[in-house]
């Protein structure tokens, strides 16, 4: 008797939603084993990681702060992933959004006007779109793989930010620290929950989630994205342009990543620093997949992954665990998710001795 993988007659809809749950459970089990091996009391560690961060009001607000960029980027990436457009460089687009939006803030430094913040958002969106337009152009013009181009541009973007804050945009009163001036009040996102850092970006993010949901389920544009992703030849037959879908999904991803970057620098950070994101652009890829590429799923997956960031910090503070635990948990979650996704199209079957005659 042995176990074999057999293709299901049709894809299991159950497994589509069960897979993230199983993956999460396996991540927790592996986490327990990992903590045991490290000689850490696993119950306490898991509590510190997953529960402690949200035992107080401030923790819930922080969850929203961390989830804002993850959900915003994840929901836009999920559109591209549905179209088979693999934008892996959201981190770079986020950085360009922060640079362009932050640049607007620095340009209007000291100007007290209600128009500064909207202008910064436009700058952030345009910056992200510009960065995403490069892989889009290379893909549609030269058929260059957008996975590689978008990923490589990420490193260009972070270096560009570094050059700017070390050089021209360095705070003149900042004792030579590689930091920009702290944005004026008019360039800072208003806090929506007094006493916390939860900002306006959270509301906008929820609105974007709703908008993408409508886009994907009710409009012909969302339909085109899905058709081109699933069956490009059918898309061509229907008269949908593959190139237009590539441009659309990359620009949407770039725009939302850029907006997320702007939210970071004009919200929780309040200035430009050499490093402005703990890898939100990459973690958003996990968010998109754990959320099954569906806006509502992405919303909850964003909260889950945001918790992993908070949990990492909390475990570091209370248990003295290394911050790398965050990355390990995120990685394991994606790893198990991809493994469990095999069960959507396949199932386990126990083979009894009957098959031996022909086996």
């Amino acid at each position: 008797m042995f176990v074999s993988l057999v293709k299901r007659p049709e894809r299991s809809q159950w497994m589509v939603y069960l897979s993230p749950v199983i993956a999460l459970a396996m991540t927790l089990v592996s986490g327990i084993i990992l903590f045991q091996l490290m000689g850490v009391e696993s119950g306490k560690a898991l509590y510190a990681f997953f529960v402690e961060p949200i035992t107080h009001k401030y923790g819930w607000a922080e969850l929203g702060v961390k989830a804002t960029p993850l959900i915003l980027i994840g929901v836009a990436l999920s559109v591209g992933f549905r179209a088979n457009v693999w934008n892996i460089g959201a981190e770079g687009q986020l950085t360009l959004g922060a640079i362009c939006g932050g640049g607007v803030a620095l340009f209007f430094y000291g100007v007290d006007s209600v128009f500064v913040l909207p202008l910064m958002m436009v700058g952030g969106i345009l910056g992200g779109m510009m960065w995403a337009a490069i892989p889009a152009f290379l893909r549609t013009r030269f058929n260059a793989n957008e996975i590689l181009t978008s990923l490589m541009l990420t490193y260009v973007a972070t270096l560009l930010l570094s050059v700017l804050v070390h050089g021209p945009w360095r705070d003149p009163d900042g004792f030579n620290f590689p930091e920009s001036r702290i944005f004026s009040d008019s360039a800072t996102l208003p806090v929506i929950w007094a006493g916390t850092r939860l900002h306006l970006g959270w509301i906008i993010t929820i609105a974007v989630v709703a908008a993408v949901w409508v886009l994907m389920s009710k409009t012909i544009v969302g339909f085109q994205v899905k058709v081109v992703g699933q069956a490009p030849l059918a898309g061509r037959h229907a008269g949908f342009s593959v190139n237009r879908v590539i441009w659309f999904s990359l620009l949407l991803g770039g725009a939302m990543a850029g907006l997320a970057g702007l939210f970071e620098v004009s919200g929780p950070i309040g200035q430009l620093l050499p490093v402005i994101s703990p890898g939100y652009g990459f973690t958003a890829i996990i968010v998109a997949f754990v959320g099954r590429l569906h806006p509502v799923g992405v919303f909850f997956a964003g909260l889950l992954l945001a918790l992993s960031y908070l949990g990492g910090e909390s475990a570091q503070i209370t248990m003295n665990l290394p911050l790398a635990v965050t990355g390990v948990f995120q990685g394991m979650l994606l790893f198990f998710l991809l493994a469990c996704d095999v069960l959507i199209a396949y199932q386990f079957r126990l083979n009894m001795t009957r098959g031996a005659k022909y086996g």
Partner: protein, 532 residues
């Protein structure tokens, strides 16, 4: 069934078969796949030197059965005997060791390698190349399979490519040669040549299991036939005592309706006009269209015959707008120049098209029927308002298709991929026809569908033409074209012949046109037909 089979084999006219045990004997072969019983207790006997037909419609279980014989699939139950000894054919290597070889419907050849190199890949390592070349030449001479070992595969016609596969098999001194629908890609002349080779092999004692659903071929070639329907043997007969009609009746299990008469139709004004269409191939494996000229009138069905890969796909894409070209008036739909416009603009002018491939081209497999309705109907039927999909109208149109074309499905939310080939094709054909196009271009309308669905589709096409639509049918099935069309042209190497009225043309003439040898009506073509 078995006793009838035994009784029949005793009446065999050849002496040798009376004394010898069957070369291959199958008893109670059963194989199921998730949701379908592909073979149910199938019995089969093949004698040495016998050309035995395995006859059945698409989906009757022929391929499943031979895959078990060749060791690709494992039977769920059943016994196989080889010269009276039970055998367990676990994999193709075991089958080849016994002397069973198979020529598949789809070839596995490397286009950029020579004939010799392709064959060398299949033989044991260390075989001397020049010796192999000598054997190839010897076999090709002996069996009338002319083939130059030095030529590259991409320069060969489909018929020549098939010869490589056959020679590859013959190098192994086979006892049983299994051929899966070998003639579906050949011209009539190539078929005749193939049959000569097979008869020669049979005389030398090689048994041939010949899979087909083409009755005329089986009449011409085979001595015995085993007929499958829905995975079961329904009859095992002497071909001589059968007519094509009686074979068809056994194969389909119901009386066939005569093709509907086409004299109700009246050709009206020109709906589709193609005048000097050129389209340069985008890569080395596609075909350039050369100076295509064709007019299709309202109420008329025009057929385009041709061996696969001679520009049919390119022509379909050029007409339906998937490929745009210049000048604009090279293609006119209802007198509107549109060669430089995309599919939806042409749909706006009254065009609809049905590609050959259903899954992933005509329909998106993982999407439901509502979404697949939207795919090509959203524009002509106004199913989208201000960017938003009008689900109510989409649903009523979709239900209309399911009803009028008798599509068996679990409803509008069934995934397209869950439908059987015939039902999905009926859905796709219905989706286009129910948009009442004034021009319909359809490729291989009944490829791989069951007889019932084929009949529904043919009937719908006739009716659409009666109502004044200009229809262009691209097909490799000559019987289908002869039954459907008013005029037939042939395409060869991207060149289209003049369309000749069906009443003035024979199958043989069409065969010549398909091979690019004769071009009735216009100047002689020098091209030798090369599929892509």
């Amino acid at each position: 069934m078995e006793s009838a089979f035994g009784a029949l084999s005793k009446t065999m006219p050849h002496d040798q078969t009376r004394m010898m045990p069957p070369l291959l004997q199958l008893q109670g072969m059963t194989k199921s796949f998730p949701g379908v019983l592909a073979n149910e207790a199938v019995d089969l006997e093949v004698m040495e030197g016998e050309i035995h037909a395995l006859l059945g419609e698409n989906g009757a279980g022929k391929s499943t059965l031979v895959k078990m014989i060749y060791g690709i699939l494992k039977p769920d139950a059943g016994v196989m005997s080889w010269k009276n000894a039970p055998v367990n054919i676990q994999n193709p290597a075991v089958a080849r060791a016994l002397g069973i070889v198979m020529v598949f419907q789809h070839f596995s050849l490397f286009d950029s390698m020579s004939v010799l190199e392709n064959i060398a890949l299949g033989v044991e390592r260390g075989t001397d190349k020049s010796e192999l070349e000598n054997r190839i030449v010897e076999i090709s001479n002996r069996y009338g399979l002319p083939l130059d070992p030095g030529r590259h595969v991409y320069t060969l016609s489909v018929g020549e490519r098939q010869r490589i596969e056959i020679i590859r098999c013959l190098l192994q001194n086979p006892k049983l040669l299994v051929m899966d629908e070998p003639t579906s890609v050949l011209t009539p002349q190539e078929v005749t040549k193939l049959f000569e080779t097979l008869n020669r092999l049979s005389e030398e004692g090689v048994a041939i299991l010949y899979i087909s659903h083409k009755l005329n071929e089986i009449k011409a070639l085979c001595r015995k036939a085993t007929i499958l329907r829905n995975g079961k043997v329904v009859a095992s007969v002497e071909v001589e005592s059968e007519t094509p009609q009686s074979l068809a009746a056994k194969m389909m299990g119901e009386a066939l309706q005569a093709p509907s008469a086409r004299h109700h139709r009246k050709a009206g004004e020109v709906r589709l006009e193609i005048d000097g269409l050129h389209n340069t191939a985008t890569d080395q494996f596609s075909i350039s269209l050369k100076d295509i000229r064709l007019k299709v009138q309202s109420g008329e069905i025009v057929g385009i015959a041709g061996v696969a890969g001679n520009g049919q796909d390119e022509l379909l894409r050029a007409i339906n707008g998937e490929e745009m070209c210049q000048p604009a008036d090279a293609i006119q739909i209802n007198h509107q120049p549109c060669a430089n416009q995309g599919p939806n603009q042409r749909r706006g002018l009254g065009m609809a098209s049905i590609p050959e491939e259903r899954l992933g081209y005509g329909a998106v497999p993982a999407m439901n029927l509502l979404q697949n309705t939207l795919l090509t109907a959203f524009q002509r039927l106004g199913l989208v308002k201000a960017g938003f999909v009008d689900n109510r109208r989409c649903k009523s149109f979709c239900l209309g298709i399911l009803e009028s074309f008798n599509v068996t499905s679990s409803g509008v939310l069934a995934e397209a991929g869950s439908l059987s080939g015939g039902n999905l094709q009926k859905f796709i054909v219905g989706r286009e026809i129910n948009q009442t196009p004034s021009v319909l271009v359809v490729s291989q309308p009944t490829w791989g569908v069951d007889a019932g669905a084929a009949q529904t589709i043919h009937h719908a096409l006739h009716k659409l033409a009666e109502n004044g639509t200009a229809i262009l049918v691209i097909s490799q099935d000559l019987d289908e074209l002869m039954g459907l069309c008013d005029r037939i042209a042939a395409i060869c190497s991207g060149t289209l012949t003049r369309a000749a009225p069906v009443s003035e043309i024979t199958i043989e003439q069409i065969g010549m046109m398909m091979a690019g040898i004769e071009n009735p009506g216009t100047e002689k073509s020098q091209d030798v037909c090369q599929p892509g």
